[in-house]
């Protein structure tokens, strides 16, 4: 057993750091630090991802033949850690990390050529059409219909919680192509262009109160939308298999570096909050909470290292492990956000809708204060999405404990 990185790994880490310090510009840093939900404007995301693309790092998880970075498992881990430590945005996952692996695994050669290069270069923006108003944790109950009309499918229905759909050029959808007794068997995986006639995007306003056009999630409506058959991935009615394959890519990410960064921001904040003639950072209650969170993050990091060293040794990450990471990671994230709310005290009250464009006017009371409570509210989503934490615990109970 050895906790140390090899010399090569350390050199790689230096390279990542050098890249970040040059490419993650003050302007991007400012936009991220003023974001309530972790997203910037479309242009900022695209320009950032294009920098990664130019460096050859747009797709750490892709095979090299398709333009992947060719990282070793350790390098992938270091890469994510360094990005998170710097607070750099994760590339928007829907294209690069979600639909692309499905296209690679199940798409035709023609589909690979048609879609993958543009995804890699961030020329197109993708969003995900899985959940429906009646289908959340129970995804297989989805209703959106795609009727066979010869050369095309006629699609009707709606998708919900569609992140950043307002920016998207394409959406990948799970649609019902057959009524079967086993609900999982009548589902297909379809790619739909967002500017097709009959597609409508309606914003859903989340608790953090985004400014107009900056909403994180949407509902997408499909009314008699014609989708060419060539946009079907794999076989008709086999979409559930592909969907499950994709979900594996939604989980299993490390959290600790991002958590450490968030905690250190709260500590910095506490240094600037006056409390009984000292600063809040001197307050024993605050110290105890911050220290315990730091310790929990350390346990998280050690767990991540254990899991990722198993992956390096060629073992598969079990669903129990990724559920553990998701559950603990999101809960600690929420606790750190809560500590920030406690830290700013009364200056949690002022509400600012557009925190991005208010960056140049002084915040009421405390620099950065208008981000704190909205971020806390926004982070309640973490234990709900990508399989609620209740579902994650069910998975561990079943897959690991055999209950």
């Amino acid at each position: 057993m050895d906790l140390k990185y090899t010399q090569d790994d350390l050199l790689f880490r230096e390279e990542v750091r050098a890249f970040i310090s040059e490419a993650y510009t003050p302007d991007l840093q400012q936009q991220m630090s003023r974001s309530k939900n972790g997203y910037m404007g479309k242009d900022a995301h695209v320009s950032w991802q294009k920098r990664l693309y130019e460096k050859g790092w747009a797709a750490p998880n892709w095979p090299v033949e398709h333009g992947g970075a060719g990282f070793s498992p350790t390098q992938k881990f270091i890469f994510t850690q360094e990005m998170d430590s710097a607070g750099a945005p994760h590339p928007i996952a829907f294209g690069l990390a979600m639909v692309a692996p499905v296209i690679m695994a199940f798409g035709s050669d023609e589909q690979k050529q048609r879609f993958l290069p543009d995804i890699l270069a961030s020329n197109v923006w993708w969003c995900q059409g899985y959940s429906e108003p009646g289908s959340g944790s129970d995804l297989a109950s989805l209703q959106m219909k795609a009727e066979d009309k010869g050369d095309h499918y006629l699609c009707n229905g709606s998708k919900i919680w569609t992140t950043m759909a307002q920016h998207a050029d394409w959406i990948f959808c799970l649609v019902r192509t057959a009524k079967t007794e086993k609900r999982q068997e009548g589902i297909s995986f379809l790619l739909i262009e967002m500017d097709s006639p009959g597609v409508k995007v309606a914003p859903l306003v989340t608790l953090d109160g985004p400014a107009k056009g900056q909403q994180e999630i949407n509902q997408v409506f499909f009314e008699d939308v014609k989708v060419p058959k060539e946009n079907l991935i794999g076989e008709e009615n086999k979409g559930w298999t592909y969907a499950k394959y994709l979900l594996e890519f939604e989980r299993g990410n490390p959290y600790s570096a991002g958590l450490n960064r968030a905690l250190s921001k709260v500590r910095k904040l506490a240094n600037s909050v006056a409390s009984d003639g000292e600063t809040l950072a001197d307050d024993p209650d605050f110290q105890r909470k911050a220290n315990d969170l730091e310790r929990q993050i350390m346990a998280m990091e050690a767990t991540e290292l254990r899991i990722f060293s198993e992956i390096s040794a060629g073992q598969n990450i079990g669903s129990g492990s990724s559920s553990l990471l998701k559950t603990r990671g999101t809960e600690i994230k929420q606790d750190v956000a809560q500590l920030a709310v406690e830290a700013i005290g009364q200056y949690g009250f002022p509400f600012v809708s557009d925190t991005q464009s208010s960056a140049n006017t002084p915040d009421v009371g405390l620099d950065g204060a208008p981000i704190i409570v909205p971020s806390y509210l926004n982070k309640r989503k973490e234990t709900i999405y990508a399989g609620s934490n209740e579902i994650q615990r069910n998975i561990i109970a079943k897959a690991v404990l055999g209950l």
Binding site: G136, D138, I160, D276, R380, E390
Partner: protein, 375 residues
């Protein structure tokens, strides 16, 4: 011992409840919150007509002679409707200070206008550096002639944008965090030297940063004795805590009912999600948090008239309970509503936001646990 409500108190509850359900549904509330003014003056006038603004004041002032229990009943029902109109700052905080400590002239001069709904008041007691310490006051009150000259900045004055009058805490003598030497002053918001920066708040209200620059007030603008302002202020804040505890149990009741109802009807995997034991236990925990919050709310409201130490212990204890329970109930109500709980379309998230800010208002869990230990 008696935990029952009188017939009058029950009638009062029914009246407020039906007023809120008839005139202040969620859509109406959001319309008011998003309006330019941020409150509904017509609603405020109706509060006056219903006698709500008169409830805690003595009959000789035109009041209804109600006590803490009446205020508690009103606040709980306003809480169920997430009412944003400034009952707390105008009636409970400032009205309460005037009622308990105002001179005869101050009462006669100001209470009728409050009771009639003509004037709105706000309590300017926070300062930017003060955090939750009521005595941490830099704003100065310098004696000059018969009166005082006020200079300084007051922070997060809730209801400030709507107020005609402010009660301002300022330091007459002593050092920044001394208990002694604090005065409370009635200040016209339109007076020379008063300026405000107004803003909306996370929980749907409005607040102001208030700057005082050589604001002159006469000697009779001071409430109580020179230098005893902190005792009056602490008492007022404890009354405020008792009132927002009641508001919070109104929120929690609404959230718990909505969550149980949602889990009964929302089906996943072919069954209502309320049939899952893990969610049942969660809702049971929410229920138990609510019940303990109700108990603490009754307790603090019955102890407001006791001596300062007993009152402080009760208020601090209740505030810790409300802070913790409100957080748990709010977070879990959102969690159990899933994605819908994350949107502004349901009232669930709005109750959660208000409960989040209630923990901060008048000092959070950590602050009041320290105070509880010291009292």
């Amino acid at each position: 011992m008696d935990f029952s409500f009188t017939e009058e108190q029950t009638l009062l509850r029914n009246m407020v409840q039906s007023f809120v359900s008839d005139n202040y549904d969620f859509d109406m509330r959001m319309k008011i919150v998003r309006s330019e003014d941020g409150m509904d003056r017509a609603i405020w006038q109706q509060f006056a007509e219903l006698g709500l603004l008169a409830a805690p004041f003595s009959e000789e002032m035109g009041g209804l002679d109600g006590g803490p229990v009446e205020t508690m009943v009103i606040m709980e029902e306003l809480g169920r409707g997430l009412v944003v109109e400034p009952y707390l700052p105008t009636i409970v905080l400032c009205g309460g200070i005037l009622n308990r400590h105002g001179s005869a002239a101050q009462k006669e001069g100001h209470l009728p206008g409050i009771i009639a709904g003509e004037n709105i008041w706000a309590l300017a007691f926070n300062e930017p550096q003060g955090r939750f310490n009521l005595a941490d006051i830099v704003t100065s009150a310098r004696a000059e002639g018969d009166g005082y000259v006020l200079n300084g900045a007051k922070a997060v004055v809730l209801g400030g944008p709507w107020a005609d009058k402010l009660i301002v805490s300022a330091r007459i003598s002593g050092d920044q965090r001394d208990r002694d030497g604090v005065g409370l002053f009635i200040v016209d918001k339109s007076a020379d030297g008063v300026s405000t920066q107004d803003y909306p708040t996370v929980d749907g209200g409005r607040a102001s940063e208030v700057t005082l620059e050589n604001v002159t007030v006469s000697g009779d603008a001071m409430i109580g004795d020179a230098g005893s302002g902190l005792d009056i202020l602490e008492e007022a804040v404890d009354y405020g805590i008792a009132a927002i505890c009641a508001e919070a149990i109104g929120h929690m009741k609404m959230l718990n009912d909505a969550t149980v109802e949602y889990c009964r009807t929302r089906k996943q995997f072919g069954v209502p999600i309320g049939s899952f034991q893990v969610l049942q236990h969660r809702m049971v925990d929410m229920f138990m948090e609510y019940e303990q919050s109700v108990s603490m709310t009754y307790m603090v409201n019955m102890k407001l008239n006791e001596d300062a130490a007993a009152r402080a212990k009760a208020a601090a204890g209740a505030k810790v309970q409300i802070g913790k329970s409100g957080r748990f109930v709010g977070q879990q109500a959102v969690q159990l509503h899933g994605g819908m709980g994350m949107t502004e379309e349901l009232n669930v998230g709005h109750f959660f936001k208000r409960l989040t800010m209630i923990d901060t208002q008048f000092g959070n869990v950590d602050h009041h646990l320290k105070r509880f230990a010291a009292a």
